[in-house]
């Protein structure tokens, strides 16, 4: 049989001949999407929901940059109203971006779509749980947005003469920042405070990540096909595995915090509120015990995506596979031990501060080594500068800047000066937005042909990436300087001396918006008018490239053959169609030296 039948392991779906039957047209009707158990469709539904959240978070980012264009109030002639609005804006921006965009972006969209295919499985271990996690996300997201929007609506419609505004039931809004620090969060607004409701929303969202995390862990443990040993797992899967561990272990702490807040509120037991005997700094410990690992939830999957992109487009085996794989897990675990570095100025003891500072530095090393591994992979490669690769290279730049400025903040004496200034704002935007967002966008472009069976425009893809990159640096690089000069964060207004930094930053934010819309249009255009994509447009050797684009409902027509995920030498490009096909038995290139 094997001699006559075409070898299905080596898909030869040429460009222009999309498979007739695939997961997108497997069944029809709205319900076949809303209630689907197919991980690929769930991934796409996540894509719509998470991108909608990104749009909302982004609009508020632009609004708050506009308010800061000038030290005087912009959105309301009454300064206190303008400041209140600003405070609600940045809370909304932060909470939506962190909990509804960055945390789910890579794992829930790309992870859901890619993980089972990369693994060589038909689906995740618990498809129903997967669907549940999506709807829990939607529920939590709507809940959180309702509460936050309620506040903005109220202030925006507040009328001096009647002394009230439009108040949605329970929509009290929140102006505490995404960190919800007590006692501000529990005292402000009295009974009219949205903090419990907002924390509840975040908790529901957290539940969604626990479910996804559990599912991914189970899938990777249980559904690996024959031959897929741990050290044949693609690095993206190692990253998702580590991320899932954090999601499952850290998110419950958020639930505990919520329960304690409720207990304090309802039973008046002093936990965080000093006026009844609590300790507000305890809240910070709880918060960062979840939220610092959450930073790794945001960044680890991004690192995984980048490892895939760099190796595929360099056509070279990733350098230091074992190190990168193990270091993902190591970073995930060490990430649990550094939360105290958010509290160097809170009055915790000098010894505690020193220990947290030291452990923080220990996380820096594996991150740095990953960067060196990527650069070494480029070295001697055969580099194809396609759009995803442009994102990967931009990512390295942003991650390097974000990571190195982490040194300034992890160092005790310099952090005292920089803590809670724009330096911190710039640092975490480089890491969370620069890195995670660029990896997400690069990953979207990379798997776009697989998701939709269509190609996007390469030229506009690159232009969009470069505009976003330039805009991003324009927005945030000056913030390092503003912060070093002392500009505090979360200021609705500021001393005149900082005006120039803010103006450059605001202009940058507008440039980023232009870039992001170009990306969106490129995707939509590709979706509607794009050329049909070949099964393997990049010559990658991970398993998702061994099935058709888009994949069939069950992912693979036959069980794929598992090998070294980064040994790509058997794939050959057809220059005319851009499709890569496998030539089994092709000799590896000879050693050059």
């Amino acid at each position: 049989m094997s001699t006559i039948a075409p070898d299905i392991r080596v898909p030869s779906q040429p460009s222009g001949e999309a498979p007739k039957h695939h997961y997108l047209n497997h069944t029809k009707g709205v319900l076949s999407w809303l209630l689907t158990l197919d991980h690929k469709r769930i991934g796409l539904m996540y894509m719509v929901a998470v991108l909608a959240a990104f749009l909302i978070g982004g609009i508020f980012a632009v609004l708050l940059r506009l308010e800061l264009f000038h030290p005087d109030p912009t959105f309301n002639s009454d300064p206190t109203k303008a400041w209140d609005l600003y405070n609600h804006f940045f809370t909304l921006h932060g909470a939506v971006m962190v909990f509804m965009f960055i945390i789910p972006a890579v794992p829930a969209i790309l992870g859901n779509f890619v993980l089972p295919i990369m693994l060589g499985a038909k689906d995740v271990a618990f498809p129903r749980l997967n669907l549940a996690s999506f709807w829990v996300y939607v529920l939590g997201g709507l809940f959180l947005l309702y509460v936050l929007f309620g506040g903005v609506l109220y202030i925006a419609t507040y009328d001096e003469i009647t002394g009230t505004g439009i108040r949605l039931p329970g929509g009290f809004g929140l102006d505490t920042g995404w960190t919800f620090y007590t006692p501000y969060s529990t005292s402000a607004g009295g009974t009219q405070s949205g903090v419990i409701a907002a924390t509840m929303g975040v908790f529901i969202l957290g539940f969604s990540s626990i479910l996804t995390g559990l599912n991914f862990i189970a899938t990777i443990h249980m559904l690996r096909p024959k031959g897929m040993t741990w050290f044949r797992l693609p690095l993206f899967l190692w990253a998702l595995y580590s991320t899932s561990l954090i999601q499952v272990l850290a998110t419950p702490v958020l639930a505990i915090t919520l329960l304690l807040l409720l207990a304090e509120r309802i039973l008046r037991i002093g936990i965080f509120d000093p006026s009844i005997g609590g300790d507000p700094v305890l809240y910070q410990h709880f918060f960062w015990f979840y939220s610092h690992p959450a930073v790794y939830i945001m960044v680890l999957p991004a690192l995984g995506v980048i490892s895939e992109l760099i190796t595929t487009f360099s056509r070279r085996h990733i350098f230091g596979y074992h190190f990168i794989a193990i270091s993902s897990v190591a970073i995930a675990l060490l990430g649990f031990l550094v939360w105290g570095h958010h509290m160097f100025t809170s009055g915790q003891s000098a010894l505690t501060n020193a220990i947290f500072s030291l452990i923080t530095f220990s996380v820096a090393i594996p991150s740095a080594v990953k960067v060196f591994n990527w650069v070494a992979t480029l070295w001697g490669g055969s580099i194809h500068l396609r759009t995803p690769m442009i994102y990967a290279l931009c990512f390295i730049g942003l991650f390097v800047i974000g990571g190195l400025t982490g040194l300034h903040l992890g160092t005790l004496s310099t952090d005292i000066h920089l803590h809670d200034t724009y330096f911190v704002v710039a640092h975490f935007h480089y890491v969370m937005v620069g890195s995670s967002l660029f990896a997400f966008l690069g990953g979207m472009y990379y798997w776009f042909p697989k998701m939709f069976g269509k190609m996007y425009s390469e030229r506009w893809g690159i232009v969009g990436a470069i505009i976003t990159y330039v805009g991003f640096n324009l927005t945030f690089f000056v913030q390092f300087i503003a912060g070093a000069q002392g500009m505090p964060r979360r200021y609705a207004s500021y001393p005149d001396g900082y005006t120039i930094y803010h103006q450059i930053s605001t202009v940058g934010a507008l440039v980023v918006s232009v870039g992001l819309f170009m990306i969106l249009f490129n995707w939509l255009h590709g979706l509607i008018k794009g050329k049909p994509a070949p099964a393997n447009p990049w010559g990658g050797n991970t398993l998702e490239w061994q099935t058709s684009s888009p994949p069939p409902h069950d992912n693979f027509a036959t069980t794929p053959e598992v090998g070294d995920p980064y040994d790509m030498h058997e794939w050959e490009e057809d220059k005319r169609t851009g499709a890569w096909t496998k030539v089994p038995g092709k000799a590896a290139p000879a050693h050059a030296h």
């Binding site: 402000a188 300790d279 080594v369 490669g381 190195l404 300034h408 160092t411 002392g486 505090p488």
Partner: protein, 361 residues
């Protein structure tokens, strides 16, 4: 007197970091520049390599990639060198931090009270030891000063960029830090005759910010730190110590009240021009009928005002929230009396109630 919130913050920005004004600032900045140098080196190295490789090894020029690489030596080097560098950085950071934390035995003491949205700095009178409360800092050049800080409401954080010093001000506990200012401000406002000149001199003093988010006016929780040579520092405290007198002459109580109104931060929430702010305006307050959130009402007389200042939660004026902190133990009877006189002086209701403005008490 102008409130510091009305002063424009002067720019003490230097090259990359604000001009140094404390004994630890040079240590912090030295390390900051060391880390900058390390960062710039690695940024240039990695950007350079990435760009060079992207061009040198582009597919059209290098169609056949080199085989999978492996180089133990290289991997050891790029793990060990960064490890050494971060250990060095950690060590100097820790050393600098210990210098900040261990305060000299003998130091001036300032009690700091953070509240929404202002600061009270409590000094001891250099001669008789009575407390002096200011809304801005005066610091002696070349002598260590210890800050003992507490908050009456939420968490704030005291930040003096030029002195590279910051510490959270947490309700329910005392946080401390110390600084030794090194660079006196050029002009001493206490030696200047007119209010405008004084205001300009204050504007040129060092900026002080709140850096822990604390609500609506977080970004206006600004004040100033004036550094003076030790003898002038003492003289300034003596002048400030007596708000009831000027140049040896007793001041009318409503003038004293006005000083307290700005200096103790009542103006953050109460206006005197009729505009409603975080709290009700004081214009025409005294003598007016007050409506409370629990449905009751009362006329604003001396007792009511005093109660409102000491126990603001007891009667909450509609439609405001219970956000005012209690001033129990913060304002003495004489000061409350002065504030009441000031409120009377801005209330038409009081005059219409008849009788000459009383200067009793």
């Amino acid at each position: 007197m102008l409130s510091p919130h009305q002063l424009l913050a002067a720019s003490h920005q230097g090259f990359f970091m604000p001009k140094q004004a404390s004994s630890i600032a040079p240590h912090v900045d030295w390390l900051m520049w060391f880390i900058n140098a390390v960062s710039i080196f690695f940024t240039v190295l990695i950007f350079g390599l990435v760009i060079y490789f992207a061009i040198r090894y582009r597919a059209s020029r290098n169609p056949v990639p080199a085989p999978a690489g492996h180089n133990n030596m290289l991997e050891a080097v790029w793990t060990i060198i960064p490890s050494i560098i971060v250990l060095v950085i950690f060590f100097f950071g820790f050393r600098g931090y210990m210098e900040m934390s261990v305060q000299p035995v003998a130091a001036h003491q300032v009690r700091v009270i953070g509240f929404k949205w202002g600061w009270t700095f409590e000094y001891r009178h250099p001669v008789d030891g009575t407390p002096i409360k200011l809304d801005r800092l005066i610091l002696p050049e070349g002598e260590p000063v210890q800050f003992i800080m507490e908050s009456t409401d939420v968490i704030h954080s005291l930040f003096i960029p030029s002195m590279r010093m910051k510490k959270d001000v947490v309700p329910g506990r005392f946080n401390k830090f110390w600084v030794q200012p090194t660079r006196a401000n050029e002009v001493n406002p206490y030696l200047l005759p007119t209010d405008e000149e004084k205001a300009a001199a204050w504007a040129a003093a060092y900026d002080v910010y709140c850096t822990e988010y604390c609500g609506t006016k977080h970004s206006k929780m600004l004040t100033k730190a004036l550094v003076l040579p030790p003898d002038q520092y003492r003289a300034a405290l003596i002048i400030e110590g007596n708000i009831f007198e000027k140049d040896g002459q007793p001041l009318p109580l409503e003038i004293v009240g006005e000083t307290l109104y700005t200096r103790r931060g009542c103006n953050q929430c109460h206006s005197i021009d009729g505009k409603s702010g975080i709290g009700p305006t004081w214009k025409d307050l005294f003598g007016a009928q007050r409506q409370f959130t629990d449905g009751t009402s009362a006329v604003a007389d001396e007792n009511y005002i005093k109660e409102s200042i000491l126990y603001p939660g007891r009667k909450i004026v509609a439609p405001y929230g219970n956000v005012m902190a209690s001033y129990l133990g913060q304002l003495n009877d004489r000061e409350i009396g002065a504030l009441i006189e000031y409120m009377k002086s801005v209330s038409a209701k009081h005059q219409t109630l008849g009788g000459p403005q009383s200067n009793a008490d």
